[in-house]
Amino acid sequence: MLLRLVVFSFFIFASLHAKEYIFATYPSNTPSKIIQALTPLMEYLSAQSSDTFKLVVTKDYDELTKRIEEKSIDFAWVNTKNFVLLKEKIPSLQYLVTYLEHSKNGQITPYYQSFIIAMKDANITSLEEAKNKHFAFTDKESTSGYAYPMMIFEAHHINPYTFFQKVFFLKKHDKVIEALINHSIEVGAISDGTYYNALEKYGDRFTILATSEPIPLDAIVASENVSHQESKRIAHLLENIPLNSPAIKAFEEHLGWASAGFVRKNERFYETFKRTLKVPLYETLQ
């Protein structure tokens, strides 16, 4: 009778302490695809934590920031830039884990890189030799297509807008490759993944002129709502997610990501990105 009372009391206690968490992300892809990709992860977390995780896809990054500030969300999936900016803005933001991926070079890494490449037939072997050539970034909002390449230029004391004859913006990494192949530009900034894909598609026709520092992959963070202990517990669950779980498979299926789970790194892992924010923007928009 006493045992029954203890089990019942535990059940009542557990029920009273089960929480409902809001897990938010911004639309980095089609919202429906994001929902399909992340829902199994919510199910995994709910099952493992005995809490309830509800997925919310905000309208955009600004809304996500605002809601973290307002504490109307508990967890968030953010990219590197967002994490760095959010952390500066909301110091209480708690880092949980970094996303892991199977790299094209065969390694499992929590980061990727930017390459500055040129066509081999352009006979450019170093960044310095690319002076007065035509260059292309992807997008000013792109981490690997703009921010980290800008860090490379900074390291070489190069202002790309004066160093190169012309600088163009082609939005997508693949388009930089196509522009190189069509000899519209001689030099371009792309992600390592794009480079390896181009290698498969066009063969060894490119010269890597410079390589960026590792660019941390996306992070999962917790707002002030979540206790430090609770955030550690959730981070632990994420770190230990099986690679064959439906949550991991859903990334591959709906977003095409070669996911390898999550790893808990030191927050300083993201500090390299902070330096990109200090790189002169050389804005041409007047």
Partner: protein, 490 residues
């Protein structure tokens, strides 16, 4: 005027009138059609002109829309190739082949038609320089190696500061020219120092320049000409007119010839018949010759109408001939004895004299008189007298040759003409006749009948009277010498 000429003249007159009326009608139709043709071509020319102007308008409007876009301005300032491409490709159409965004250095930032071709220098291009200096350029120039209608205009930030150029171009090619003249019967040709294009392989006729408000470009001698691809319709019309003229003319000639030969064929038969009648009337033919000629003139090919007329004429001639024969017979025959009468004998004698004179032949005549015939009439009556005359004539006719001519000269006197007979032969015949009569008996006259005969032979220079007088003298002598005898006078 002959019937043939009358018919031919009147018929030709009618045909010529129809021909002239036909020519007038055809010419009127031709002129009406030609006016419609010219009108259609004028409308088509205006339509092509309008289409060309619309093409230019599309270029200008497209450029203006893009210039007014803030995204385009931002894209040019920030060299956002991708955004400019995404914008411009929406405006590409059959009337807009190329959209280029060019910065102030003359570097292409983006091409709407080629996503990955940009960053090349076009600052030396005429249209770029013109747009940079004069704000706009509308004309013909080379764009990426192709001759194009180009509209280039400065792009300004806040409507003031020039940040670049937009060029919108339409390639001048066969498809462009074809789109201008589509659905028309006209052709268009484009000629420049670099190329000559035309919608037709044939030379344009009545070609005229297209009135286009284009600025002088770097392409020399560039211009458009419109004209008829061929005057096929008009030529067809002319050919139809000529064919109708020739057709009617040939039909007229054929009709006249057909009429001519039909008239000749029919009138020839009628003419032959009428000529027979004329010859008969003018005594060139006698009735028998008329009949034989009519018979000869009708063949199997003779038309039924003429055949019937010929038959009618033949039958009529036959009846005339029969009547003539009867009359002739009546007029030359003695009614009592059925021998030739005196008129017939005189004619025969005349004829024999002519023949003898012409042929240097001879003949003889015998004047015969029944002895004491008045006594027979007085004694036995005239009926018996007539019977004696008839029977005597019959007996004499049996005694003479077929070629001999025997006739009643008058009363109980007979004359026998003996062709090709000498005096001796005539005396023999005379004696045979005398004896035959003498030995003959008569049914109603019981007495022996005798006759006296006077013979004479033709002599050169004889007349009917002279030869008859000698025969008559011989007869008188026979009477005086006792009757029932033959005498002659040579």
């Amino acid at each position: 005027m002959k019937l043939y000429n009358k018919i031919l003249f009147l018929t030709i007159l009618q045909l010529v009138a129809i021909f002239i009326f036909g020519i007038y009608q055809i010419q009127s139709l031709y002129l009406t059609q030609k006016t419609a043709f010219d009108q259609k071509n004028l409308i088509q020319s205006e339509m092509i002109q309008k289409r060309f102007e619309e093409k230019l308008e599309v270029l200008q409007k497209t450029a203006q829309i893009l210039i007014n876009s803030q995204e385009v301005i931002t894209g040019i300032i920030s060299n956002d190739t991708d955004m400019l491409y995404n914008w411009s490709k929406l405006f590409l159409s059959p009337s807009t082949d190329k959209i280029h965004f060019i910065d102030l250095d003359g570097t292409v930032i983006s091409r709407g038609e080629l996503e990955f071709r940009f960053a090349d220098d076009v600052s030396k291009r005429f249209y770029v320089q013109q747009a940079l200096h004069n704000d706009t350029f509308l004309g013909i120039d080379m764009v990426d190696g192709e001759e194009c209608l180009v509209y280039a205009k400065r792009v300004k930030q806040y409507g003031q500061k020039t940040i670049g150029i937009i060029s919108v171009a339409l390639i001048i090619d066969d498809a462009f020219l074809a789109s201008l003249v589509e659905g028309t019967t006209m052709g268009i040709a484009y000629h420049s120092q670099n190329q000559t294009l035309s919608t037709t392989k044939e030379k344009l006729t009545n070609a005229a320049s297209l009135h286009v408000m284009l600025q002088a470009g770097s392409i020399k001698e560039a211009g458009f000409n419109i004209g008829f691809t061929s005057e096929e319709e008009l030529n067809a019309l002319k050919e139809a007119r000529t064919n109708l003229f020739v057709g009617i003319g040939l039909a007229l000639i054929a009709l006249v010839l057909a009429l001519h030969f039909t008239l000749l064929k029919h009138l020839k038969e009628y003419k032959a018949l009428s000529q027979v009648l004329i010859d008969f009337y003018e005594d060139r033919l006698d009735i028998k010759e008329v009949m034989s000629t009519i018979k000869q003139s009708t063949t199997e090919q003779t038309t039924p109408e003429v055949k019937k007329i010929a038959e009618a004429l033949f039958n009529m001639s036959q009846k005339v001939a029969d009547t003539q024969n009867v009359l002739e017979h009546l007029s030359s025959t003695d009614q009592l004895t059925s021998l030739s009468n005196r008129r017939r004998l005189e004619e025969s004698l005349e004829q024999k004299l002519k023949e003898s004179k012409r042929e240097e032949s001879f003949f003889s005549v015998i004047m015969i008189d029944i002895d004491r015939f008045k006594t027979i009439n007085d004694t036995y009556g005239h009926e018996i007298g007539d019977h004696v005359l008839i029977h005597t004539a019959h007996l004499m006719r049996e005694s003479i040759r077929e070629s001999d001519i025997l006739g009643r000269w008058g009363g109980e006197e007979f004359l026998l003409i003996l062709p090709h007979t000498s005096l001796e032969g005539a005396l023999v015949i005379a004696e045979e006749i005398r004896l035959k009569i003498y030995h003959s008996t008569f049914e109603h006259y019981p007495q022996r009948l005798t006759m006296s005969l006077g013979v004479s032979m033709y002599r050169i220079g004889d007349t009917p009277n002279s030869i008859l007088r000698r025969a008559d003298n011989a007869l008188y002598r026979a009477k005086n010498n006792g009757r029932n005898r033959v005498e002659y006078e040579n």
